[in-house]
Amino acid sequence: MGDVRLMKGNEVIAEAAIRCGCDGYFGYPITPQSEIMETLMIRKPEDETGMVVLQAESEVAAINMVYGGASCGKKVMTSSSSPGISLKAEGITYLAGAELPALIVNIVRGGPGLGTIQPAQSDYFQAVKGGGHGDYKLIVLAPASVQEMNDFVDLGFELSFKYLNPAMILSDGVIGQMMEKVELSDYKPRWTDEEIEKISGSWATNGKKAGSERNISTSLDLDSAKQEVFNHKLQAKYRAMEENDVRFEKIACDDADYLFVAYGSSARICQKSVELAREKGIKVGLLRPITLFPYPTIQIQEMLGQVKGILSVEMSAGQMVEDVRLAVEGKVPVEHFGRYGGIIPTPEEVVEALEEKILGK
């Protein structure tokens, strides 16, 4: 066992960033995720690993600092919560358009507008379907435990550098504020200049090398024909993500007659609901998408010969349920159950919803 601690989800994001060799964090305070930057400020990684931590003047500035840092081939990140992510949307689409790797952490709270500071999952559409303008996708990782908050920082960077595309950890106030046992990752040194040259030398804007072409970090091409070719390239990249990097977890699915599909904290609640339902004799399983993009569409389809109905459980008015329905193509009933505005459903409520909306049909 490595370094095992009892820690808050938000604190773990900060700790994992330092340990995975992150070069820079740029943030702006917003509840319920301020502990991320606070933890970094207390830890002072600049003294330890040389990681830069800077409180920006706004979320807009923070994401554009990320754009600048990412352009240098550095491992850089930001974090925020829903209203702040809306402000970052501009920078996020620029990152996608310039094919830059970066990690964005979203500790979601209830909306719309200023909404509430309580947990929600009502930013699924924003994270998975766009948020900013243009045909782009983020790699979206949905942790369901404090352990996964640790693990997905490194994984997020790994995937974002693999595809040269920004990645988002879509968590929420439950996981961010919850304390759990976590095994922290071992320290990885930050990349040296030589390593950056090897990994990102073909595009990083860290000074033009004598005898080689200059690098330009841009999302602009005024030539429509070239812009279309570039968009084809982006789409091919997103298809490759769907091909190679779908992540999911199945719980009690082997003999399931019914299925919950839920991610993040809703999946944690559904784990208990599976137990409660099975005590009542209802054989229900849980499919937990870990990557929300790329989405486990095929894995849901594989359950269709077996299950008679699916309940999508989300702390939203029904967003991911649309992707479940797209996968199912009307072959079995698909319903949504959610509490929102900062209300967290109980496991019992979820079982009642299953009985009423799926078994009752």
Binding site: A56, A61, N64, G68, V76, N206, R214, I216, T218
Partner: protein, 257 residues
């Protein structure tokens, strides 16, 4: 002796006293005739060559007429979202403190949409150079009113002349940022005569030297022309600039610490 051989004799190696810097690329510029950007690009390129920092300089271009600045200088470039260049430059400079990072921004980019980013980069004293081209108009989008547009000036969105009672007053950005402790060198220059260009080059060189000495932020405003936006010939534009811009935006160094 024919005219051609005579010229060839004159341009022999020993007589060459000036050449185009290799840092300036041969790509055809998209700027309008009479535009100040071309001269400013050349001056920056010359300073980069003379200081031998081509491999250590990263330019950050804005949204506006100079959005395509990366086509003209043979260095690494980042193209920023509108107004955000100082944020990109902040991270770039902090993550690579031995590099020379400059932003190149117009008045709409810097003084309007990017007001927060420039204020805070200046206030933090980021170790960067800001090249701020003030021609009192939005050029790229077709000549709309900018925060620096003069009172009474006719633009596409102030067709009856800028009314300061309803649109506010032209912003003197150099004066504003010179009040922030983070700025070390704040100067306002122009580029309409050979003498002005020489002074401008000295200022830009000083900016990059400040970066080398880790002195903090150098803010170099250049009052320039926009013949297309002003709907004047290049010559008339220079006259209009001298008559109207210089009294409101006086040239000179406001701060040098």
């Amino acid at each position: 002796m024919t005219a051609t051989t005579e010229i060839n004799n004159i341009i022999s190696e020993e007589n060459l006293v000036y050449k185009k810097t290799d840092v300036l690329l041969d790509n055809e510029m998209h700027y309008c005739p009479g535009c100040t950007h071309g001269v400013i690009h050349k001056v920056i390129a010359e300073v980069i060559e003379e200081m031998d920092i081509q491999d250590k300089t990263i330019g950050v271009s804005p949204v506006g007429c100079s959005v395509l600045a990366y086509n003209y200088l043979d260095i690494d470039w980042q193209q920023a979202a509108h107004g955000r260049a100082p944020a990109l430059a902040t991270a770039t400079s902090r993550l690579m403190p031995d590099k020379y990072v400059f932003t190149y921004q117009g008045d709409g980019d810097l003084a309007s949409i990017g007001c927060a980013e420039i204020m805070h980069a200046c206030n933090r004293g980021e170790n960067i150079v800001v090249v701020f081209v003030n021609n009192a108009i939005y050029g790229m989008t077709g000549g709309q009113m900018a925060p620096t547009t003069l009172e009474g000036q006719v633009t596409a969105t102030s067709p009856y002349g800028r009314d300061c009672a309803t649109t506010g007053f032209p912003m003197k950005m150099s004066e504003i940022v010179s009040l922030l402790p983070g700025t070390r060198f704040v100067t306002r220059q122009s580029a309409e005569t050979a003498g002005a260009v020489r002074k401008l080059k000295k200022a830009i060189r000083k900016g990059f030297e400040n970066t080398r000495e880790k002195k903090g932020l150098s803010f170099i405003e250049i009052v320039g022309t926009c013949s297309s936006g002003w709907k004047l010939s290049p010559t008339q534009s220079n006259e209009w600039m001298k008559e109207n811009m210089f009294p409101y935006y006086p040239l000179g160094t406001l701060k040098d610490e």
